[in-house]
Amino acid sequence: MEETRTGVAAVTRELSGPEAAAFAESAVPGSVARTTDTACYLKPGRLVAALDALKNSREADLVHLTNLCGVDFWDHFEVVYHVQSFDKNQIALFKVEVSDREKPSVPSVVPVFHGAWMQENETYDLFGIRFEGHPNLYRILLWEGYPGWPLRKDFLSMPGGLQPGLGDFAGTTPRSEPTVKVVK
């Protein structure tokens, strides 16, 4: 890897799952649930502590929460955190799994990263994942009382067994009006 004058990598280093896990484990022991090649899954209970420690640690230096979003995998949710460092020029991918579909809840990282304020609100608005400890969690894009959470996979139930994710090309199957299913 080419090194420049300030000792910063010329291309952002994407930390692999084990690397990120090593950072997290050294910062807050017992915070890692499991790792994959690209991502490090943190335990929800230790999430805030781990991110806070990584933000303040010198070698990880993950100061900038770039991206926060939710993903619905039908049976569980994942909340994705892309955290990066300016001085070290590296980016790490942390994830938190939420298996409770009825009352999904994740601790909020707003105390650590103020930038999570908007993104957690958005994730709450579109997925219904509550972020415990968020100072002002409200539906930022839709209005209060909107039925359901649009980005959940079971939001639309389409006739003919057409599942979201396009089993077929859009428009080839005749469609009727999508019914909105309220997810409590």
Binding site: A10, H82, G115
Partner: protein, 369 residues
């Protein structure tokens, strides 16, 4: 004197229909006299649920959606999305395609910054003159887009694996003309605004963001650089061969609205430089790697990000191996740049809040998506 005169705070709505909110964005400001003591952002008037819609369409069909998020920089949005898909599917882009992408993205940055500085000057009260001057230059760039892609605003020009068409005949002279016209225009704007005492007193020290605050609030782009943080993804994480070009990252001093303005002006100069280099060294060869129309990337995830005119534009894609993305998430820069809006506006007057809002350079299509 302890018994200073107390007045009752009241709430005013800045927006959704207000001349300075650049679209249907609304601030519920609680003011005490003219001093803002609380500011609450209300958005979603333009929400189209693009992330859900994208899950129903193929990867190629999603490109026009990205035009319509940040409608002032559609080329950059196309580019970010295509990079994410290419990263997901492992597609290489030929050299000529990359160079065309760089030229287009930088021209788009010029056009978008023209709009940003013009609208910002308008917010400070310079009655229409900077806007008109900026639009004069922006029109020329949009003409280039029209020649190349057939559209001016929502270009839909980038494709997965390259660009849609090769460059058309009058492209190069038109770009050369723009490159000749822009530096005098930038100097003109600098003379008109940067050295203007009224402009300085309106923007200097207004909406100050400390570097710690800017980092912590996940800001990006000129907002981050205005605070003195040298972070530009074109340098830090080069894509499309940005590492070949010689340019610099402009950074501000104090992180106030004025710094964000001069950073944008200087970025325009650097963009002119990049376009000139890219145009001089435009390689020949194919402009696109052929990819199947119904692309089915392997299951997995990819997060690709570019430096859009407003900051870090990221696309997070999750694929389940099907023809459409399982999860399509946009990291919209102007949405997240609003994180620090309350901190910047509270304590100033209503007029300052407008200036701060102008310096954020928000595009409501991108905020609401």
């Amino acid at each position: 004197m302890t018994g200073a005169i107390k007045s009752e705070p009241f709430v005013i709505n800045i927006g959704p229909q207000h001349p300075s909110t650049h679209g249907v964005f609304r601030i519920r400001a609680t003011v005490d006299g003219e001093k803002v003591i609380d500011a609450e952002m209300v958005m979603g008037y333009l929400h189209r649920s693009m992330e859900k819609l994208a899950e129903e369409r193929t990867y190629t069909q999603n490109i026009p959606f990205t035009d319509r998020t940040d409608y002032l920089s559609s080329m950059s949005n196309n580019l970010g999305y295509c990079l994410a898909v290419e990263k997901l599917a492992g597609i290489e882009v030929p050299a000529r395609g990359n160079a065309i992408r760089v030229i287009m993205a930088e021209l788009q940055r010029l056009a978008s910054h023209c709009m940003a500085i013009g609208a910002f000057a308008n917010d400070t009260g310079a009655w229409q003159t900077p806007v008109m001057w900026a639009f004069r230059e922006r029109e020329k760039i949009l003409d280039i887009f029209e020649v190349t892609s057939g559209a001016r605003l929502t270009c839909n020009y980038m494709r997965i694996g390259g660009v849609a068409f090769d460059l058309r005949t009058p492209f190069e002279p038109m770009v050369r003309q723009v490159l000749a016209d822009l530096p005098p225009f930038i100097d003109e704007m600098e003379n008109l605004l940067s050295g203007n005492e009224i402009f300085i007193s309106r923007t200097r020290g207004i909406g100050v963001l400390s570097p710690e605050m800017a980092t912590n609030a996940s800001l990006s782009g000129p907002m981050l650089r205005g605070s003195g943080i040298a972070w530009d993804l074109r340098k830090a994480d080069p894509y499309c061969g940005y590492e070949q070009y010689d340019f610099a990252i402009p950074i501000g001093y104090r992180g106030d609205s004025y710094d964000r303005f001069i950073v944008r002006l200087e970025e325009m100069r650097q963009s002119v430089k990049i376009v000139r280099q890219a145009l001089d060294g435009l390689p020949t060869g194919p402009f696109r790697t052929e990819v199947p129309l119904a692309l089915r990337p392997p299951s997995g995830e990819a997060y690709a990000r570019i430096e859009s005119p407003r900051g870090e534009l990221g696309y997070y894609l999750v694929s389940d191996g099907g023809p459409s993305p399982f999860r399509f998430h946009i990291r919209p820069p102007s949405f997240i740049n609003l994180s620090a809006l309350k901190e910047m506006t509270v304590g100033g007057t209503v007029a300052d809040a407008i200036v701060v809002l102008g310096s954020v350079d928000l595009v409501v299509g991108e905020i609401d998506r």
